[in-house]
Amino acid sequence: MPDAPTAALDEPEDRALVARWQAGDERAATRLVERHAPSVARFVASLGERDGGAELVQDTFVRAFGSLDTWRGEASFRSWLFTIARRLVLDRRRSASRSRLVASLDEEGATEVAGGDDVLGGVIAAESAVRLREAVATLTPTQREVFLLRVVEGMSYREIAGVAATTEGAARVHYHNALRTVRDYLDA
């Protein structure tokens, strides 16, 4: 099944910003970092990297901007960043050879996006959010990575395949298996 070209929505502005940066406009870099750093940080956290996550995000951008000449635009700028971030995470795990800490996004340092004035409603929503996160935490690492790229970042299977070093077909299977697992957990 042809997948939706989700990357196309952000690509024109990203390309324009990259061109401006390459022409010497350093403000374009700030804009690109503002646009993508939160999602890269979220992705790094979803891979289980809590310690040094900020450094990984920074290294991702340093690596990306240092090799922008090699970015041919075949992948979206965002998925290219995610690919770099994923490689850095894997490199760090290989070199450090240490047990990783599973990130818990509701801990200190997290930035809450949703908000509300209703305290009771907020508590219920928070409990629901915890349960939803627990459901996702039961997924295998690959399922979780694919599932969050699809549901949170809204990536196409093609983008996910590029980031997660898999195929579009496998990404689709992982997504549907993950959704079934999450449903089963929530229904139990």
């Binding site: 099944m1 997948d3 939706a4 070209p5 989700t6 196309a8 929505l9 940066w21 390459q22 022409a23 010497g24 406009d25 350093e26 870099a29 700030t30 970092v33 503002e34 750093a37 939160p38 940080a41 979220r42 790094v44 956290a45 979803s46 996550g53 900020a54 995000v57 920074q58 951008f61 340093v62 901007f65 240092g66 000449d69 990130a103 996004l105 509701d106 340092g109 997290a110 930035t111 809450e112 996006v113 949703a114 629901s128 959010a129 915890v130 939803l132 996160r133 459901a135 996702v136 699809r150 549901v151 949170v152 970042e153 809204g154 990536m155 196409s156 997504y175 999450v182 449903r183 929530l186």
Partner: protein
């Protein structure tokens, strides 16, 4: 834009609808379909809740990241020029050294009878021949090799030749 999605295609697009990454017209068509199907509506609500639960991101320091970025190529011409200048200076120094060795060697060779086995004149001639190559066309490795050869040259015979022996 097609709207004749089958069940699988519809469900595949729901997370993209929840994330807001579908093109506007496609999203509108999909929402219209979801509005008529309770199962799809439930799945979309679940996906929306899952997305919200995972939207929180660790805080990022944009200024710190930007400060660590390399300067854009267009903003660092001086560094490039400095590199070119250093290379030209290196070429000139090698050329000057080679010229001194060659002239010295030739002068010695012309003014004396070359003793058998004296290597310096041959080495100087070799260096002179090498000067026929445009030095600025050499690679860094070639320049280094040439510089090493020049350093190894004594330039002058180690012993005074025997005149009129």
């Amino acid at each position: 834009m097609r709207e004749d999605w089958d069940e699988g295609e519809l469900r595949d697009r729901l997370p993209l609808l929840a994330a807001g990454t579908l093109p506007t017209d496609e999203a509108a068509a999909l929402r219209a379909r979801v509005a008529t199907d309770a199962d799809l509506a439930d799945e979309l609500a679940l996906l929306g809740a899952l997305r919200s639960a995972h939207l929180a991101a660790p805080a990022v320091d944009v200024a710190r990241i930007v400060a660590a970025l390399p300067a854009p190529v267009a903003a660092r011409p001086s560094r490039v020029r400095a590199g070119e200048g250093a290379r030209l200076l290196r070429v000139a120094r090698i050329a000057a050294a080679a010229a001194v060795v060659a002239v010295g060697g030739l002068a010695t060779w012309m003014g004396t009878t070359r003793p058998a086995g004296a290597p310096s004149a041959m080495q100087a001639a070799s260096a002179e021949l090498r000067l026929g190559i445009p030095l600025d066309g050499l690679s860094d490795d070639q320049l280094d090799a040439l510089a090493a050869e020049i350093r190894d040259l004594d330039g002058l015979p180690s012993e005074e030749p025997e005149v009129g022996a």
